[in-house]
Symmetry: C2
Subunit: 310 residues, 2 copies
């Protein structure tokens, strides 16, 4: 986390929501923004050291988690989350100049965009067919090239591809956001801010009754709220799976440290994925007995009991 | 725990089960055995420094815990358990020489002895009336003095009071034992043996839903079995109560230390009452992930994660 960030990899092409999220990161200013075609390509560029940092979508509040990103961060060569960005999900319908709503027979977008606009599409252009693109920006490019009639993308992509905004603020679910994470190669976590989130992956080597309850208890007994939990197969065979977990607090907090050590002890393996400031600036309510000072006092008391010197 | 034990206080008079338990303690040999009339008197003698050690009954497996001892150790000036003794519960019916079963109209004993022999009394001397004594030995003394016809006491008390054993091995419940504890003024606990028990008291300042579950979770999440739990009022008003808890393990065990720190953090107060070798020599089954080595490894891992130096 030291030194200037000189280059950022992101899911291209230019004009994606990921690029818009990247532009909101303070350390992206003055850095080179390098587009890559897929999430794995973005992450591999960072792993190889071709770039200093990367940004990818992790979670979409309408569609749930983004499986590729979770799997890559959980089981690929380790990377570390150092920041997050939440962007409202809001699409624009981009068309070539002169196109009217009646002319739209095909609509292209990234597969994640389509279900978020399904109702709007059914209400406004019910006869248009949907086409998949690797990104919304690529969909815009296809429209500019004349392959499709319209693209669902960020309105910021219109100018870049010489398109017009035919409709704006398209989304089925109000207040939906996409969550992006900024990544580094493994490093010391950013300093705690008092409003932090931690991501970790717990691996279950052999499934057994109560495995999830066992993990959740490690958090609840220390008063830590989870903000996301997602089970995934590890690919290592039946009965072997993992839990991706996001939770309140910073790895430097005593309660978080003890919970992570608890996971480490009871799970087949644990991967720390990062502690970083929350995009929503929510400060957790710290439960009675789980402040750092409580842990410090308890440790001093235990020492006095063990040595017989009160 | 260092130095020779020169004097032991116990619940007298001579001939009680407590004296028999005391005789089984290795460090009682060569020490002066000083009888006191009540459990609080025994404990106060130790608190004042009149004796080096004391022994009292803590738990009777037929009648449950001995409330006075629990309350004294939980809320009186602190003392520490350093050893335990388990004696089979087995009474003798002691009479003056020449007395036959038909002559027995009154039977005296400590109130704890009566319910443990209720069925035997009903079957064998159904018309005899029971009388309370402050100890079974005192009951024997009363018989010797001619106040009562018979006493329920240890057979070892017969010779001491010039009585005969009219019946032996009296107990309603097979395998019942009384548990005694040896006490010291607060000190460093005896070394762990691999088969240890720890006693602690958790104070609930203000009752709230889930208070007991919260406490039990501190143990279960670290794989620690409780062997005794007993709630008692603290005397400090409604909603204020305590839990006496005995559990597997030694305060020097990592899992026990972390559980005690957890209690200390979430409870109004915690009193450590002692870690000492188990009388039954049972070695706990240590659950996956809760060995000392697991805690050490997890702490090293957390340190590497916090500093970013894997």
């Amino acid at each position: 986390m030291t030194g200037r960030t000189r280059s950022y990899a992101y899911l291209g092409p230019s004009g994606t929501f990921t690029e818009a999220a990247l532009a909101s990161l303070p350390d992206s200013e003055g850095a080179e923004h390098l587009p890559y075609a897929t999430v794995p390509a973005v992450l591999d560029a960072l792993r190889r050291g071709d770039v200093d940092a990367a940004i990818v979508a992790l979670e979409n509040s309408v569609e749930g988690s983004v499986p590729t990103t979770l799997d890559e961060l959980a089981t690929g060569e380790p990377l570390q989350i150092v920041a997050e960005v939440a962007l409202p999900v809001s699409f624009a319908l981009l068309v070539r100049p002169g196109t009217s709503m009646a002319d739209v027979k095909t609509v292209a977008s990234h597969p994640h965009a389509q279900p978020q606009c399904r109702r709007w599409l059914a209400d406004n252009i019910p006869d248009a067919e949907w086409r998949a693109a690797t990104s919304n920006a690529e969909a815009a490019q296809h429209v500019a090239d004349g392959h499709y009639d319209a693209a669902l993308a960020g309105s910021f992509a219109a100018a870049r591809y010489g398109l017009d905004v035919l409709a704006e603020d398209i989304h089925d679910v109000a207040d939906a956001v996409t969550r992006f994470v900024a990544l580094r190669r493994p490093c010391a976590p950013p300093e705690p801010t008092g409003s932090d989130r931690t991501s970790a992956v717990a691996f279950i080597g052999e499934d057994h009754p109560g495995a999830l309850l066992e993990i959740l208890t490690e958090f609840s007994v220390r008063g830590i709220n989870l903000t996301l939990i997602q089970s995934r197969p590890t690919g290592a065979g039946l009965g072997s799976y993992l839990f991706w977990m996001d939770f309140e607090g910073h790895v430097s907090d005593a309660r978080v440290g003890e919970a992570l050590m608890g996971l480490r002890r009871v799970c087949a393996d644990v991967r720390f994925v990062g502690s970083y400031p929350r995009a929503d600036h929510v400060r957790p309510e710290i439960r009675r007995g789980t402040h750092d000072a409580d842990f410090t006092e308890a440790a001093a008391w235990l020492e006095s009991v063990r040595t017989g010197h009160p």
